[in-house]
C-alpha cells in the first residue's frame, strides 16, 4: 500500500466514524461509536503496517519516543488533576463529605446563565476530548523541540 492510499483510507474511516457518531446520538446509544472507533483504529493500525517505501530512520524514531514520553508525563498530571476534580464533584456525597465540595452549590442551585444544562459546560466527556486534543498539540510541540535539539535543520549540502 502506498502512503497516499493510506491517507485516503484515513479519510474514509474518519468519514464513516462521523456517520456512526451521528447514528449513536440519534439512537441515544454509545455502543456503536465506541465499537466503531476501536474497529477504525485497528483497521488503520493494520493498514499502516502494510505501507511500503517508508524509511525506518532511527533518529526519527528516537525523537518520536522522547516526544511521546514527555507528552505522556504532562498528560498524566493534567488528566489525573481533572479526574480528581470529577471524583470530588460526583462522589463527595458517597464519601459523606458533601459539605466540602464547592461545586455542590453550583450543581444544586444551578444559577441561571451558567449553562449547566448545555452539553459543553462541565461535561466530563467534552473536557476529556479537549485534554486529548491538547496531547496532540503537546506531542507536536515536543517533536519540534527534539527535532531542533537533535539537529533536524535541513541545511544545504556541505
Amino acid at each position: 500500500m502506498k502512503q497516499n492510499s493510506f491517507y485516503i483510507l484515513i479519510g474514509i474511516v474518519v468519514t464513516a466514524l462521523v456517520g456512526v457518531f451521528w447514528l449513536s446520538l440519534q439512537w441515544n446509544n454509545s455502543v456503536p461509536i465506541q465499537i466503531g472507533f476501536i474497529i477504525g483504529v485497528i483497521t488503520l493500525y493494520m493498514a499502516r503496517g502494510r505501507i511500503t517505501g517508508i524509511i525506518d530512520d532511527e533518529r526519527s524514531v528516537a525523537i518520536s519516543q522522547k516526544a511521546a514520553l514527555r507528552t505522556l508525563e504532562v498528560f498524566w498530571v493534567v488528566f489525573f488533576t481533572f479526574s480528581l476534580g470529577i471524583i470530588v464533584w460526583t462522589s463527595s456525597r458517597f464519601f459523606g463529605l458533601e459539605g466540602t465540595s464547592t461545586l455542590r452549590f453550583i450543581r444544586e442551585h444551578n444559577p441561571p446563565g451558567m449553562g449547566m444544562d448545555k452539553p459543553f459546560f462541565f461535561n466530563p466527556g467534552f473536557i476529556q476530548l479537549l485534554l486529548l486534543c491538547m496531547t496532540i498539540f503537546l506531542y507536536v510541540g515536543f517533536k519540534f523541540y527534539y527535532e531542533r535539539k537533535y539537529g533536524g535543520e535541513d541545511a544545504d549540502e556541505e
Binding site: 530512520d57 535543520e153 535541513d154
Partner: protein
Amino acid sequence: MKNSIKVFRAKANITQEQLAVALGVYRQTIIAIEKSKYVPSLTLAFKIARHFNVNVEEIFECEEADLK
C-alpha cells in the same frame, strides 16, 4: 562524540543524500550526526563504518565528556 563522516564522505565523493539512501536513513540524520548533534546507535555506526570500509574507531572518536 566527534566523527569524521564528512571527511570520509568527501574522500568517497558522495553527498549526504546518497549516504542517507545507502544507510536507509533520512538526510537530516546524516546532517545531525555530522554536526555531532545526534549520536547514532551502534548498528548505524557500524553501518557507516562498513560503508566506508573502515573500523568504527576511525570514524567516531569518543571524548572524555562522553564518558562522564
